[in-house]
């Protein structure tokens, strides 16, 4: 890493640190978005090892972060998969509606990340319940501009 990059990075780090506190005021963007789209609050969705979310620990470019979601929960019990990125302007990324023809729960794509953030994969089951996997991804260069 050269000096210019280092200075830029530390400036970004300081900026995000000073900007961050106002987000914790009231409901955060991710909480509002999940409430709006799923009709449940984030705190009611439990983390489960049954949902396997793969994403890089450190992403070189936020414009192109490969992720994949797998689960051994039988496909017949699963309705849909929802992917969110906490710190994006719009946290919701995509919704995948499965059918039993899929054979198993699997989805892979590439997402944009504005900055370091939690990535969440939420499975909506047919009985109306939700299970989630969360992974923190550090982004060294943002992808939303």
């Amino acid at each position: 890493m050269d000096r210019r990059k280092f200075l830029l990075l530390s400036a970004v780090a300081v900026a995000s640190f000073t900007v961050a506190p106002h987000l914790s005021f009231g409901a955060s963007r991710i909480e509002e978005d999940i409430q709006k789209r799923l009709g449940v609050s984030l705190s009611q969705i439990k983390e489960s090892p049954e949902v396997k979310l793969q994403a890089p620990t450190i992403a070189e470019s936020g414009a192109n972060v490969p992720i994949s979601v797998e689960s051994d929960i039988p496909i017949e019990k699963v309705d849909s998969l929802w992917i969110f990125v906490d710190n994006n302007g719009t946290p919701w990324v995509t919704t995948v509606k499965f059918t039993p023809m899929n054979g198993k729960v699997y989805f892979a794509t590439r997402i944009k990340m504005r900055e370091s953030s939690n990535v969440r994969a939420i499975l909506k089951l047919k009985d109306g319940s939700y299970v989630m996997a969360t992974k923190e991804v550090k982004v060294t260069a943002g992808g939303c501009g």
Binding site: V85, K112, C144
Partner: protein
Amino acid sequence: MAIGSAIVRVPKEAKKGEVVRIQMVITHPMESGGRRDPQTGQTIPAYHLTKLEIFFNNNLLTAIDMGGGLSANPFVGITMKAEQSGVIKIVYQDNKDGKWERTAEVNVT
């Protein structure tokens, strides 16, 4: 490649009952609408895919809603339980009335 073109990749041959991967890449800028042009300061208008549906022999296999949160030239991978030979068809549209489809064949033995 032109906006809306796509590559669909399926295994040429699959065993009956096998769960196979179906992968696709669609050429599209996926502009989220939240970005500003650094020169002019103007917001760049949203221009992204909104829906991608994958059919097998005209039965819906997977339906995907998306927005500007997917990377440019989005990649999507899903699975299918191969029970018989047939045609995979993907149908996708964007927020500016663009609509396209592509097909690929799967041989199940």
